[in-house]
Symmetry: C2
Subunit: 301 residues, 2 copies
Amino acid sequence: MGQLEDMYLFSRVVESGSITKAAEQLNIAKSAISKRLAALEHKLGIKLINRTTRKSSITDAGVHYYQRSKLIMDEVEELNCQTTSTARELHGSLNIAVPLSFGVLHLAPALDLYLKQHPLLNLNIDFSDKKIDIVEQGVDLAFRIGHLENASFQARKIAPINAVFCASPEYLNTHGTPQTPHDLKAHKILKYESAAHAGYRFFSLDGSEQLVQLDTHMRANNGDFLMAMANAGHGITYLPTFIGWQALATQALVPVLENYQLPSMHAYAIYPANRHLPLKVRKLIDFLVERFGDNPYWDQI
Amino acid sequence: MGQLEDMYLFSRVVESGSITKAAEQLNIAKSAISKRLAALEHKLGIKLINRTTRKSSITDAGVHYYQRSKLIMDEVEELNCQTTSTARELHGSLNIAVPLSFGVLHLAPALDLYLKQHPLLNLNIDFSDKKIDIVEQGVDLAFRIGHLENASFQARKIAPINAVFCASPEYLNTHGTPQTPHDLKAHKILKYESAAHAGYRFFSLDGSEQLVQLDTHMRANNGDFLMAMANAGHGITYLPTFIGWQALATQALVPVLENYQLPSMHAYAIYPANRHLPLKVRKLIDFLVERFGDNPYWDQI
DNA sequence: AATTATAGTTTCCAAAAAGAGAACAATAGT
DNA sequence: ACTATTGTTCTCTTTTTGGAAACTATAATT
């Protein structure tokens, strides 16, 4: 195998953190990686990765080689696209990680369309709400909903995410309809995700702000489940419209506290902070931005 | 084989001008080149070289791919050196073409030393006075003596080349010693090379210039032969000091017309006008410049 | 126009390289 | 000390690659 392929192999080892993980991601035997890495090191005459039985650490020379290799691989990729794309379609594989609900509900149909437009692309998709390390996992593209904390990657907004407090009419009939954030304390709250943010920060329409701590009746890391529970009258949930739009449209769920807002959120496409992002990925992002836009279809009802 | 290796293969085909020549230079069967080039084109989805049975011409896409490939290969080469050289010697192969006389007399001893300093280098040397196309031949380095006409390559002066009209004492005793350029018309001239420059342009020490056409008694494209003939009393020759220095020192040959000069010449190292010249080549040039200098040993007597 | 010479392709076969899988070795964490 | 896990080594199989010669097409020659 060629030098360029060795570079790729090596970069996968570096990014995934171990030979074993790299082998899994690349779907080849770890013995192959071990051998080729050793061969590369022998050819260069210098150790790139210090290996102990339990952990590997990159050497100084390895860091340098890795960084330069990245640039070179980017250039090759770019050249291949440039040379090819004049006469050909987007092709190759698209490795993406998507959050469960948003992925199933909105990305899946969009990807279906995108792949029909570019039949030479093949898709490798991982549904999960875990916040993966895109570099370590070696994915081309992932998605985040909410806010971006660290910026160890590039990001682009693909849609605004609105959410409303809502409940089933039956529930509200029984328990009453809250008029102020404070009223929520008397209600059963169905909350998304972990204990990370224990309180909600409300902005009223006149601009004033209040923080309200709420006990939760149920907690889950899946929006569809929370919607189903709200539908079944289990309480009030703060539901993104991309999940609840249809239920809200049919009045199966009714919004409450419409005069108050919580901090706005966005859906982001995130990708490794490389110098160059492959055309197939950029095009996909463009496509999604175009499809969802500033006022996505699920908010247009 | 890897993509990078394909690039190299392709560039050799482009530079040599044909698959067959590239195969000869690379010492592999032309069938291999044909197959791999076809595979590369297939992968890119575009023809890089238009082939007819008798000649090949590069396509537009091919030109683009070639140029970009060159840059990429340079970067890889540079990276390899950088990564490697911290802990290792110069290595790899050195492909050079040298002129016959100068090569045997002065480059050979220098190369001997250089290779002893860098034992991991292996040498591939072609002695010939033909002016080869360094790109087409795929050599790393070649040498020219005289003047550079076209500049389809980079060049660096490695030594001044002086030459004097001289003859054996016996000859001068018999035929007399010329005092002016014009006097040479009465002498037997042993001339280097072809009919290219039929006349000599003399500069006298006071700066005046005169062109003298001389008939030649003997013509050869080998300086050693001309020196031997002059030694044997066959006539007057315009002999570079790098050939004649010892004969001149021992008075086996005596200079004439020392008050006149011909246009000055230099020995040049020439190399392809790439962006980056390999370290092993640059070091060799440095070494030669250092060794010969502005006043080479053959002129210090 | 027929012939010749040459450049590239194809085909077949041998050789080399690469990957899989299992056994093995080494060590960090328990 | 034990265990789990990581990387290496070994053998075997599969895949890829390269060489040789036959084949094809066409430019140059006659």
